[in-house]
């Protein structure tokens, strides 16, 4: 590579030199010299360049003349060193272990023994030299086979062919057509040749312009425009929209089934444990997503509520729940007073309080007491449901290996175009949603009851896990209302155990429930037990609860 580029550069210089040279000697000799030097240039080095200059300085006027006629527009002051040479022109190929050119065919072709089967023969076929030599014969194109053979018998017989033709009928004669005609006189020429109609066909008048064009070979459309039926235009997207047909329900491929996802499985499990209710035997995507959202929101709300309470009553009052032996007043005023008396600030008082905390209470507070049953839904799920999520093994999950928590559910199922019921009115009439006025009313009622129903033990037991973020189910999440989470949970389980079998019946026939509900509604404040009794699952419980608040 390098040597080539150099030689080109030198030649270039050389030529310029030649052009500018005026003095010199004419002569063939010099011209020949010039060629010689040109050849020399190919394997170039600086010293030879020097000698070239000398050689070119002598003469070549004639050559120079011809050069002037060449219309060459090269810049005079071109500096060959201005061309940046490539960083390297060859490199050590680790595959071949040899120096390989850096441009051109980079990969070295492996040796013949590494070629795949059949390649060697193809290469051999491609490399086969073209036959040389000139043949004086002419092909007869099938007219007289054997004509390009050397005739050994033929030469002898050709002369006698004419004589023997008559008697030796068996001797095949291969001659041209005119001699054929001569030999067989009686053959009728019309028998031999097709006689073409010279008159124009009468039908030609009847031909349409298109047919005529086609027959004459004039430019014509590919399809007869008379026959041509335009292709129906594709429907506009508007038409397509209104003519859309719901695809058939049946699942004809295993790939059409819904991918098992965590939400669905959890929604199913929640439905089984009665936390939500489903409107079919299998949760729809919407239901699954709603269940998930609900779980999440409830937990968020509860945490916010806890935080709010912590800020409201102060840390000492808040945490004194878990310190039974702390019987001092925990109100803000008392703390302030204590501070003024002894100079211990709130933080010190808190530490003092925690000094009275037993280990058991501490465990309860931190949620690490094993005696308190904490059964997340995932633990209570049936085996097959668990397997549906993880393939049975949480360490090496075999299904649902990749789970995208931020996956956006595609709600556009085949029923996408079905008319959607007005969700708001649907929820309203089913009592799932209440208006703001109702809510305010309930809240006003609730404010009054708030402090009465505090049950320390229960509250302690269930409010322990503040801030621990297990959200696998809302079953063991507790509402932040200080009133009775644990109880509620427990009761919920009980309720669930009672009703599990036919809760759906109750769902589908709200009258049954209504009749039950009516009674407590009459009272302005429903007791917790009643509320629990009244609700079949946590969802309903919460709904009812909201109403009551």
């Amino acid at each position: 590579m390098t040597s080539f580029s150099h030689s080109w550069l030198f030649q270039d210089q050389f030529v310029r030199r030649l052009r500018s040279d005026d003095c010199g000697v004419y002569g063939k000799l010099c011209r020949r010299k010039f060629h010689v030097y040109q050849k020399q240039f190919v394997g170039v080095c600086t010293s030879s360049k020097q000698s070239v200059y000398i050689g070119s300085n002598r003469g070549l006027q004639k050559q120079g003349k011809t050069f002037y006629t060449v219309n060459c527009t090269k810049e005079r002051d071109f500096d060959p060193s201005s061309i940046e040479p490539p960083p390297y022109s060859s490199y050590m190929d680790s595959t071949s272990g040899q120096l390989e050119p850096a441009s051109g065919a980079r990969a070295s072709i492996p040796g013949r023994e590494y070629w795949p089967e059949g390649t060697a023969s193809r290469v051999a076929a491609a490399r086969a030299p073209e036959p040389v030599g000139k043949s004086d014969g002419k092909p007869s194109y099938g007219r007289s086979p054997g004509s390009r053979r050397r005739k050994y018998k033929g030469q002898a017989t050709t002369s006698e062919v004419t004589e023997t033709n008559g008697d030796m009928s068996n001797q095949p004669v291969l001659v041209t057509s005119e001699s054929d005609d001569n030999a067989d006189g009686p053959i009728d020429p019309s028998d031999e040749y097709v006689i073409y109609q010279t008159e124009p066909e009468p039908e030609e008048e009847n031909m349409s312009q298109y047919e005529l064009d086609k027959a004459m070979g004039r430019p014509h459309p590919f399809i007869d425009p008379a026959i041509n039926k335009p292709i129906e235009e594709p429907h506009s997207s508007e038409d397509l929209w209104w003519n859309w047909r719901k695809p058939e329900k049946e699942q004809w491929s295993r790939w059409q089934r819904r991918r098992p996802d965590v939400d669905t499985v959890f929604a199913k499990a929640m439905a089984e444990t009665g936390q939500i209710k489903l409107f079919g035997d299998y949760p729809t995507k919407t239901e699954a997503a709603l269940a998930r959202a609900r779980r999440h929101i409830f937990k968020e709300e509860r945490l916010q509520e806890e935080q709010r309470r912590l800020e409201e009553v102060g840390p000492i009052a808040y945490y004194s729940e878990w310190v039974k032996s702390w019987d001092r007043d925990t109100s803000r005023e008392a703390i302030q007073r204590h501070y003024e008396e002894t100079g211990e600030d709130e933080f010190t008082q808190l530490i003092t309080m925690f000094e009275h905390q037993t280990a058991e209470e501490y465990r309860i507070m931190m949620g690490t007491d094993i005696r308190i049953k904490r059964d997340p839904l995932a633990m209570r799920m049936r085996e097959d449901l668990i397997k549906e999520i993880w393939g049975g093994d949480p360490v090496y999950p075999t299904i649902n290996y990749i789970q995208d928590p931020n996956e956006v559910i595609d709600f556009r199922g085949p029923d996408f175009h079905e008319p959607t019921p007005n969700m708001l009115s649907y929820l309203m009439e089913h009592g799932k949603i209440i208006s703001r006025e109702d809510l305010e009313k309930i809240l006003a009622n609730e404010k009054q009851q708030e402090l009465e129903i505090t049950d320390m033990d229960e509250a302690l037991a269930s409010a322990v896990d503040i801030g621990d973020d297990d959200d696998d189910d809302d079953d063991d999440d507790d509402d932040d209302d200080e009133e009775s989470e644990g109880e509620e949970d427990k009761e919920d389980d009980e309720v669930e155990e009672e009703i599990t079998r036919n809760w759906s019946v109750l769902k589908s026939t709200p009258q049954l429930r209504k009749s039950k509900k009516e009674k407590p509604k009459k009272k302005d404040a429903m007791s917790l037990e009643e509320a629990i009794d009244d609700s079949e699952n946590i969802t309903d419980f919460l709904m009812d609860f909201d109403e009551e608040e």
Partner: protein
């Protein structure tokens, strides 16, 4: 007859003969007098082959140059040019038309002699573990018809609705494969830009063709074999009838111009008969038996001890000609294949128009019920192997019979009435007597011919201008007589060398 008497008998032939191989064989003959015992036949064979077309060469050279198991001759020690003078290199266009269509020939060249084309090694080939390709011919250049009924053509040069297909379809599916292929060949000559229009110029013309389909009635009489003659006459009649039936005056021009006269059709038929191969080919997923005309590969001549074979390479649909694995080839040796194995001379004569005096499958019908001891006969000539594959064991023979044993002696081992009973040794006197009886039989058979061996040879030498078919038929009977002579000689030697 003692073996010493053999050479005087044969020498005149070898010196007088002026066949294509003269130069070639003279160099071999220089090896010794013993070598002469065979060449006479060879000579005759050679001249016989003149009558044939190129195939002739095959038969000849077969026995001459490429008989490694028999080791008849030492390989020629000619350095300057291994080719005899008569063999001229083929026309450059012969190569060129194929080269342009990706036919390839490696290490071989085509040469044309008075007996037609042959394929010769242009360099020495050392024995290889694997067969070595010397030619490859793509399917596109061939003419093939499936052997069985759904007629399929590869390449399909027959247009849909062409009347030639009706003709092909009207043939008898079992027997008339040659008629079908002849129709296809004639059609190929008519198709524009078909390769066979060019290649046809290198096929033997009807004067050069030795196929007896083109033979005169008197030529058939020259065979001195009325069974074969009547069979050939039957074939000729069939072909002519076929032509008359389909090339009648009302036939469409498309058909008529293919073969304006019956000679053209007979020529095509003889070309087909003498150069078609039957092979199982695979095209895509389709495997089928096909009758095929393969350009270039059909220039290979026949040998009973071939050094090449044909192979269908389905990957790129090529027919390849391969050298037998482990075969040593000297420069100038002829490349040969085996056309048919296990057939008598009359079958070769009927289909290809040549015969060989050393066909190892030839048969004599002995009338006497004398029998010789098979094992003794085999050991006398160092023949090994089972009857199906007798061969001359050169390791056993110390060189004495090297030049005597050829295909004919092996054929004799197969055709002589023999007995063999375990270890029971033959009684020499009885053996000699029965051998003599069998010789008598052979003499009787020789005497039944209208002409003698010497007369035949004279006839051949006297009119070198005789047509190919006449030469072929004279050689046929000559070869028969040579074969009988050889058997008589073999029995003579056997009587001398019976083991006691």
């Amino acid at each position: 007859m003692p073996s010493s008497s053999v050479s005087p008998l044969t020498l005149p032939f070898s010196s007088s003969s002026s066949s294509l191989f003269a130069a070639f064989e003279l160099s071999q003959l220089g090896n010794g007098d013993n070598a002469c015992s065979l060449p006479p036949d060879r000579r005759n064979v050679g001249s016989t082959s003149h009558g044939r077309r190129r195939r002739v060469v095959a038969a000849t050279s077969v026995s001459t140059s490429s008989l490694p198991p028999f080791k008849f001759f030492e390989p020629p020690k000619v350095v300057e040019s291994p080719f005899p003078l008569e063999l001229e290199p083929a026309d450059p266009d012969f190569y060129r038309i194929g080269y342009a269509r990706s036919v390839r020939a490696y290490g071989v060249e085509f040469r044309e002699g008075p007996d037609g084309f042959g394929v010769y090694a242009s360099k020495d080939v050392d024995p290889l573990r694997r067969a070595r390709v010397i030619m490859e011919i793509p399917l596109e250049l061939m003419l093939t018809i499936s052997q069985k009924h759904p007629w399929m053509f590869f390449p399909d040069i027959v247009p849909v609705g062409h009347p030639i297909f009706d003709i092909i379809n009207s043939t008898k599916p079992e027997t008339d494969w040659d008629h079908r292929l002849a129709c296809l060949l004639l059609h190929a000559f008519d198709v524009e830009d078909n390769f066979w229009q060019l290649y046809g110029d290198f096929l033997p013309s009807s004067e050069e063709c030795t196929s007896l389909l083109l033979a005169h009635k008197d030529d058939l009489l020259e065979l001195q074999d009325h069974v074969l003659a009547s069979k050939l006459e039957e074939q000729q009649k069939c072909a002519i009838e076929f032509w008359e039936q389909h090339w009648h005056s009302a036939a469409p021009l498309k058909i008529k111009r293919l073969a304006r006269d019956v000679e053209r059709f007979l020529w095509a038929l003889s070309i087909v008969q003498s150069r078609a191969f039957n092979m199982k080919i695979r095209v895509g997923a389709l495997v089928q038996d096909a009758n095929m005309l393969v350009p270039y590969a059909d220039m290979l001549n026949h040998s009973f001890q071939p050094n090449c074979f044909l192979h269908w390479r389905y990957k790129d649909r090529m027919l390849e000609v391969l050298i037998n694995a482990g075969q040593r080839i000297k420069k100038g040796e002829e490349m040969t294949i085996n056309y048919m194995s296990g057939q008598k001379n009359n079958i070769f004569m009927e289909r290809y128009g040549f015969s060989s005096p050393s066909n190892p499958w030839d048969v004599i019908n002995f009338t006497s019920n004398a029998k010789i001891h098979l094992d003794s006969y085999l050991s006398a000539f160092n023949i090994s192997g089972l009857p199906e594959e007798f061969y001359h064991n050169t390791i056993l023979s110390s060189g004495g019979d090297k030049n005597f044993v050829d295909g004919a002696v092996i054929a004799a081992a197969r055709t002589l009435p023999t007995w063999s009973d375990g270890d029971v040794p033959p009684v020499p006197s009885i053996e000699r007597r029965s051998a003599r009886e069998l010789q008598e039989d052979c003499y009787q058979l020789l005497a039944d011919f209208q002409t003698t061996l010497e007369q035949d040879q004279q006839i051949l030498d006297a009119n070198p201008d005789a047509s190919r078919t006449r030469e072929a038929s004279i050689k046929y009977r000559l070869h028969r007589k040579l074969f009988l002579k050889k058997v008589i000689q073999a029995l003579e030697i056997y009587q001398e060398s019976i083991l006691f």
